[in-house]
Amino acid sequence: MFARGKNSIEFNNVFLRSSATISGPRERKGPLGKYFDDSYENSYCGEESWEKAEIRLQKDAILCALKKLGLKIDDMKAIVGGDLNNQIVATNYASRDFNIPYLGVYSACSTCTEALIVGSLLVDGEFGENVLVVSSSHNSTSERQFRYPTEYGGQKPNSMTFTATGAGVAILSSVASPIKIRRATIGRIIDPELSDTQDMGRTMAPAAAMTLKQHLEDFEIDINEYDLILTGDLSKYGSEVFLQIMKEFNYNVTTNHNDAGKMLYDLENQEVFAGGSGSGCISLVSMGYIVDALKKGIYRKVLLIATGALMNPIMIAQGETIPAIAHAISLERSKQ
């Protein structure tokens, strides 16, 4: 691997060898439901608490990705992952039973791409042949941590997003596979000085735009390099702001952009307000649908830009604004 431009990395030999997704009930009923390996009918996932349910989702996804290759957890050199809970507790506990090196990462809803970047660095740095990357979110664990109790009857505004329930796993490897990981851009923290915790899509849009701009500059490539630029989870309102900022930067992104928060649910008929969010949202969309579409040749090159609002309720109560971040990583068909 080598550094490109200001904030980017080009990998030599990293492939996405296997992936797996396990979703909650509402995600299964969404337009991409058929791309998930499995889903639970109930958001408790057969466990006694929501936190344990999220741990279950991660464990299931990890075992599913391994099973697809016929490998065991001991064949993985390390686990890299994270989630939205305090102390990234779901990932810590999901990894507890696997006796291999573990790195926990957190950047709110962009944890998915941050983990993929760290995992790719480990593989390309020849730390080991296979590195397992996991990220998840659970609607109810997030609600109780960042917002109100789930049964609280306060009115939610249209700008609110719905945290997805699900976990996505990728097994990154130096073993040649149909999908290659080639480019990554590490995001900078961008604070657009907003403090509405019920309007995070618009808060994260500038970070996504800055990361995309930096990515294009660092690699000296055109916006049409990618068949799809997948942001996540800007949702309905954030996507609009993202496109307009890119236009101000003189990049015309329209046909090759979509947002994971808009794809995961049927915005008209599922009660998710402005769309999906959470690190599980882009994990489900990318490790489920995007990986499938790349294998089938519907897409050749996809840039994932996961966005995270680094929101902390204590800081907001102290009158602070919400910093945001976005990390980008590209998935490409290895034989064009």
């Binding site: 006694e48 608490s49 929501w50 936190e51 109780r144 109100y148 109790p149 789930t150 049964e151 609280y152 009857g153 306060g154 009115q155 939610k156 505004p157 249209n158 700008s159 961008i190 657009p192 000085e193 907003l194 309007d199 618009r202 849009a205 500038p206 800055m210 309102y237 609009e240 702001v241 307009q244 900022i245 101000e248 930067f249």
Partner: protein, 144 residues
């Protein structure tokens, strides 16, 4: 330079919240709850001939009971999403905030979960109530 672009685009894309429509919904639902509660009060006071103070307490118990039941079976948050202030401002909101906090915390056990967290949201209302009662009580005592 970039900050000014963000500000310009964000200002151009502010999200308008339907305040007028929300107010109408809140008025209709909130009003219906009050009408229903008044009916219960009349039932206890005039049909069962219970004295007024006790009838009021019984009416509260019925409304709080119904709200907690609706919260427990997962319906109240849907009503609240529709009516907004209409269900949060009356005593229904208070009951819902306590029941929902208790439900949410049951996975952490009775003492560390339910008992510690039940007043998480409602606590602010109690503090405000006690404080204003103290101030108003003193004013009445001094100037009566």
């Amino acid at each position: 330079m970039e900050k000014s672009i963000f500000k310009k685009v964000l200002d151009r894309n502010t999200i308008k919240r339907p305040i007028f429509l929300n107010s109408i919904k809140a008025f209709l639902v909130g009003g219906t709850i009050c009408l229903f509660a008044q009916g219960i009060l009349w039932f206890f006071k005039d049909l069962l001939n219970i004295e007024k103070d006790k009838a009021i307490s019984l009416m509260y118990i019925v409304i709080v009971g119904i709200t907690s039941l609706l919260t427990g079976i997962g319906i109240f948050d849907k009503i609240g999403q529709f009516s907004g202030a209409g269900t949060i401002i009356p005593i229904t909101g208070f009951a819902n905030s306590m029941t929902s906090s208790a439900l949410e915390s049951k996975s952490e056990g009775i003492i560390l979960g339910i008992m510690s967290n039940m007043f998480k949201l409602a606590g602010a209302v109690i503090v405000a109530g006690v404080l204003s009662a103290f101030i108003v009580g003193n004013v009445i005592y001094l100037f009566r």
